[in-house]
Every structure is written in C-alpha cells, then in structure tokens.
Subunit: 224 residues, 2 copies
C-alpha cells in the first residue's frame, strides 16, 4: 500500500530511486544538476517547483486511475560508461540534449494529452521566447492527429495558472512572427485560456480545465 500526504504527494520521496542507493546518498549534487537544467531553461528555481507540482498532480491522477500522464525523461547523450564489477554501471561522461517534443504526454478517457508547462515572473504578459520552434512543430503535428495539446502557463508573481490550448497559442505565436510582439498579454490569456485554481490535491488540477475545454469543443473530437 502506498501512503500519501493529504495533498496527494506520495509518502515515498519520488526523487530517491530504490534501485540506486549510492545516488540517494548524494542528493545535494543531484540538486545542483537539476538547478543547472533549470537555469538553462531560464525558469529559475521556481521552474523546478512547477515541475514538481505537475508531477505530483500526475501521480494523484494515476493513483486514482483518472489519467495516465508522465513527464518524459530528460534526453541525454551518453559518451562514456564504467562497468565496475558487482555494482551498477556508472555513466562517466554525458551531455544534455535538446528535447524534440513537449515534456508531458499520456492518455485520458481515450484522448491523447500532450502539454508543456512554462513559467514567467512577468505580471502582464507571457514571453513567447519560452516556446521553441521544435515544440511548436511538435504541437502542430499532434493537433494534426487530433491530440489534445495545450500549455500550462504559470505566472509566479501573480500565483495564477492558466490552461491555453495549443491551437490558440500557435495562432498568436505566428502573429508574433509578423508583428514582432514579444509576449502574449495576460488579458488575452484570461479571455482565451482557462484559469486553473490551485488546490491541495491535486496541486494543479489541470484535468478540470481539459474537461471544460473538451466541453467547449463538443462534437469536434467525436468519432475517434
């Protein structure tokens, strides 16, 4: 049996792998690695907390058999591996690779879900630079296949989280290429997106927004 905290977090610390005991002892340096990844993506430390909140929400949904959504592992290019006798292989040289897709995908009531979570400290708009060309292309390809694609936009200074479907995001993203506008105004997100009020469990109840989105598009996703 798995015990959970009241907010749905699993009692077992998910960052400590059961299979790699030696790693568990070295959490501080792992945290350094994580920080770097975060810094690289320019989300700052809060970015990691956003990821954690989404991972916990995914676990909440999984445990209750409501959806199966996972974060994809960070792609890494392995160069050199050591194979000490009687212990696990140690990767001695490897590099971070750029992901070619979004971070999260899975299945919910027969629907393919695909999303990315992004964060800004801005208070009035969401910078487009958070989205990369390859992510936009991936979303377009998934939409083509009738997947449910969206982004979760977290305004950390406002503590507000929005669901915005990818079709709308791409519409403004393309406009931006012509107009040179560097960000999506909060007013537009408020109008076109769906605000996700934070809860205790799951911390980011994004499936509520997915339900509302599907309802607003009723008929469009039938006959799959």
């Amino acid at each position: 049996m798995v015990f959970n905290y009241p907010d749905g977090r699993s009692y077992l610390n998910p960052t400590v792998s059961k299979n790699t005991h030696s790693v568990a002892k070295k959490q501080p340096s792992q945290t350094a690695a994580e920080k770097k990844t975060v810094a690289k993506n320019s989300f700052g430390n809060r970015g990691m907390r956003l990821e954690e909140a989404i991972n916990e929400s995914n676990r909440y949904y999984l445990d209750r058999r409501l959806a199966v959504v996972h974060k994809k592992p960070t792609p890494i290019q392995i160069v050199n591996v050591d194979y000490p006798k009687r212990s696990a292989a140690v990767i001695k040289e490897a590099y971070f690779k750029e992901a070619s897709t979004t971070d999260y995908n899975g299945v919910y009531k027969g629907f393919y879900l695909d999303f990315e979570a992004k964060e800004t400290k801005n208070k009035a708009s969401f910078p487009f630079k958070n989205f990369h060309d390859h992510q936009i292309r991936h979303m377009e390809a998934c939409l083509d296949q009738r997947g449910i694609c969206f982004v979760l936009l977290w305004f950390s200074s406002l503590e507000r989280c929005f669901f915005l479907d990818s079709r709308t995001l791409i519409h403004y993203w393309q406009q931006q290429k012509n107009s040179g506008k560097k960000s999506l105004p909060l007013a537009v997100i408020e109008k076109e997106g769906i605000e996700i009020p934070r809860k205790i469990a799951p911390r980011i109840p994004y499936l509520d927004a997915v339900d509302r989105y599907l309802k607003s598009k009723e008929g469009l996703f039938d006959g799959q």
Copy 2:
C-alpha cells in the same frame, strides 16, 4: 529539406546530435554504453537494431504526417555535473534508472498509442520474462483510459514480427502466474496477434496492424 534513403531513413545520422559536437566525435564509447544497455535488457545486439528499425519507422510516419510516435529517452539519475566555462555542462556521474512506463507512445488519428518492442531468439515461443510487472501495470492503466496498447514481438531467428494487443498479452501473462508456463507459444501469437510483414519503408509498418486491430474492434473505441 530533409533527404531520406529509399528505406525511409533520414540522411542525417540521428545519433549525431547537432548541438553536442564533442559527443559526435566520440561515437565508439557511446556505442559501448548502448551495448551495455542492450546487454542489461538481455536482447543482445539485435535489440538495438530492432529499436533502430522502430525509430526509423516512427520517423517515416512523422515525416509523412501519419502519426506522432516517439521513443521515450532512457531515464537517468544524475548525480554530478560539471559546468566548464564557455562550453556545455558535462554530466560526470549518473546511473541508469528503471523505466516506469513502456518505451513508445504517441498519437494516431485521435488514438493514444502505447507500446513496447521485445525480441527473442526462440523459435517456438516468446518468454514472459521479457515483460516486467511495472510494464504490465502501465499497460493496464492505459487500457483503463481506452488507450491502444500493444507489444511488437520480434522473433529474430524466424525474422517474423507480430503485433499483439496488451489485453491478450495480459490475459496470458496472468494465466502464466498460475500455471507456471514460462512463455507464450508462437501458435497462440499467430492466432491472436497480427503478423507485420517487413517492408523497405517503413521497415516495421506497425500502423497497418493497428488499423487491422481497430477494424476488428470496431465500435469499441467509438465516442471518445
């Protein structure tokens, strides 16, 4: 423009990342790492070739906008990272983690696809030991959400590839727990699965089998 070989393989070597030039120069040691991963999974060297064939098929489908399916990156526990000035971060210590899901997922005509590819040198049956508890649990959870879940079974000695839906696999997997039978007879796979004749492009045309499977289950996946 992307050029492809006649069999659908991309002209650009996908194992050479454009962003990590130093890595590209060191292919031999990377291959050693890959070999180890393969050995660990006890697929032998051919396992890697099966993975390559599926990755190329996925690329073929993606390029032609027929489906969006990707292999998930190998999950890795990072322990120590170096940040040399003016160059990319180098992971100095990391370990392979066990995946909690199957290897491949994506979207096809509105359907969520989720599968695992396995290989045997056996000629008369497929060993159950190729499937792990957590993979079976993941498939059950995806089936619950009306995903299309299956395995691709490759008999390397026979050069025959089969699509077997996860519901059927799980049925026999559970029987095995009681009966102690250690493998699934080829005769059963021939009867219950769908053989995938290999082609030049895509090398493993698994979507043909998915289409046949969906047709055989018509009505079951409506109303999504």
